[in-house]
């Protein structure tokens, strides 16, 4: 029951986020700040993880290709498919639920327990619009982060496969272009876009409606990570079911 109640409250929160907007000038500054915190601030870790996991995907595929009938170009093909379809959009979004998500929950939660949200409300501000809307807008740039992740993941795979001596550059590149279905890109970015919305709003919900003190802020961050991940995984399942099968 409480789950249903919370889900209802979540959708009401989203509705409230888009009404009674804060002054445009103020909002613009907030949006740039969020882009800096949420997007630019995540580039480093995303680049690092993508590059190395891409490399590992290529090595794993190569090591499991023991049957000589299977052509070596499968390494390029498999790396591309796994990086573009799941690794970059889904796996990285789970990591972002930890990084961006707990940052959002703890920063909004701290404002809640120190009454800064009440202070905003007293100044006639719709605090949900002030706090959450800029995060939603900033997270619209999240698909660019994932695009970079895809590129670096495949680059990592290429370097690991070719310089690791598992395949030649030609073979890898042929595999990379093999059976390329443009719709897969649409699918990957569509779900990334939905994840970016979940990543901005679910952690905000957990921060905004929390009560208590510093200890509860910590707990709320953990809960928020769990629920954001669950939402991403479930959404991923249904989108894949609907669009690819």
């Amino acid at each position: 029951m409480t789950y249903l109640h919370d889900i209802g409250k979540y959708f009401l929160m989203i509705k409230e986020t888009f009404v009674k907007p804060t002054k445009g000038k103020v909002l613009r500054v907030l949006i740039f700040k969020e882009i800096d915190d949420l997007i630019i601030g995540s580039l480093g870790i995303v680049a690092f993880i993508s590059f190395f996991v891409g490399g590992v995907v290529a090595i794993q595929t190569a090591l499991n290709l023991t049957n000589p009938i299977i052509p070596k170009q499968l390494i390029g093909f498999a790396s591309r498919q796994s990086v573009i379809l799941e690794f970059a959009p889904t796996f990285l979004s789970i990591i972002m639920a930890g990084k961006v998500g707990s940052f959002i929950t703890s920063s909004i939660g701290t404002m809640r327990v120190t009454e800064q949200i009440d202070a905003l409300e007293v100044m006639g501000i719709n605090s949900l619009n002030y706090l959450v809307f800029p995060k939603i807008v900033a997270m619209c740039f999240y698909p660019f982060v994932i695009a970079i992740a895809m590129f670096l993941g495949i680059l990592g795979a290429y370097i690991a496969a070719v310089y690791g001596g598992f395949t030649t550059a030609d073979q890898f590149l042929t595999g990379l272009k093999d059976d390329f279905i443009p719709f897969h890109i649409v699918y990957a970015f569509l779900k990334t876009f939905i994840f970016s919305f979940l990543l901005a709003t679910i952690p905000s919900f957990h921060g905004f409606y929390m009560r208590g003190g510093a200890l509860e802020v910590g707990k709320a961050s953990t809960t928020s990570f769990v629920w954001t991940s669950v939402a991403i995984i479930v959404t991923n399942y249904f989108i894949t079911q609907m669009l690819l099968s």
Partner: protein
């Protein structure tokens, strides 16, 4: 003047405010006193509209707050200043930015004008050399001054303070109390202060409302409070040894 009529507020099954009726006068420091947990903060926040009352009315100079739509409520909020218990300064903004923030929200002033106005109130609360510091870089007493400056920067008609001297040493606490009282008289504001500090009661208790477990148990002023026979009030007032001694001395005279 702020009038409260039969205000009730609860959370879930717990009733916190059990029907409060009182009024707070203009140009005076009105105190709400009571033990921790008696509902003082909930009372103030219900008046501010931060909590939606379950029933009852709040009238700001005759206008019922809860009957208004968002824009008209906003017009009243423009006239409200609030000093929160922990100051509630925005920690990503400097002192000056914090104080300019209500102006940014409510007025069309240019940056220069806002800064000028901010510096007038910064002088008024005796904040020196702190304009460009972050809230985390200044002391608790200074944070309180910033909070007061932020609350009065837009010339409010109503000023609310939730335990303005909690966490401060006795000297600073008195200075802050007196500052609030001076401002109240100077600008003819309706000021409402939550406190459980008997020193504040003696210093600035022009009107006192005593809350006990969500009921309004007693009303009066600072001279009456030391004379009343109301047992709930005397238990609160004479809970400290210092005041017990004061009473003994009075009785033996």
């Amino acid at each position: 003047m702020i009038e409260v009529r039969d205000l009730k507020k609860g959370f879930g099954d717990v009733e916190v405010l059990k029907g409060l009726t009182t009024s707070f006068d203009k140009g005076k420091t009105n105190l709400i006193i009571g033990q921790s947990g008696s509902g003082k903060t909930v009372f103030i926040k219900s008046m501010l509209g931060l909590f939606r009352p379950d029933s009852g009315k709040i009238l700001y100079d005759g206008i019922c707050y809860s009957d208004l739509d968002f824009e008209d409520q906003r017009a009243i909020r423009e006239k409200i200043g609030m000093v929160f218990q922990g100051s509630a300064l925005f920690d990503s903004m400097t002192v000056e930015e914090n104080i300019m923030f209500p102006l940014q929200m409510f007025t069309k002033m240019k940056k220069g004008e806002m800064r000028e106005r901010a510096n007038i109130v910064i002088d008024r609360v005796n904040l020196e050399n702190a304009n460009h510091k972050l809230p985390s870089e200044i002391s608790g007493g200074m944070q309180k001054r910033v909070a007061i400056a932020r609350a009065i920067v837009n010339n409010p008609k109503y000023l609310f303070c939730d335990e303005p001297n909690s966490g401060l040493d006795p000297h600073t606490a008195t200075v802050i109390d007196n500052l609030i009282q001076e401002i109240t008289e100077e600008f003819n504001i309706t000021t409402i202060i939550n406190t459980h500090d008997m020193n504040s009661v003696m210093e600035i208790g022009e009107k006192i409302v005593f809350l006990k477990e969500g009921h309004l148990a007693w009303e009066g002023d600072k001279t009456q409070i030391f004379k009343t026979d109301n047992e709930e009030v005397t238990n609160f007032v004479y809970s400290s040894n210092l005041f017990k001694m004061v009473r003994k001395a009075q009785n033996s005279q």
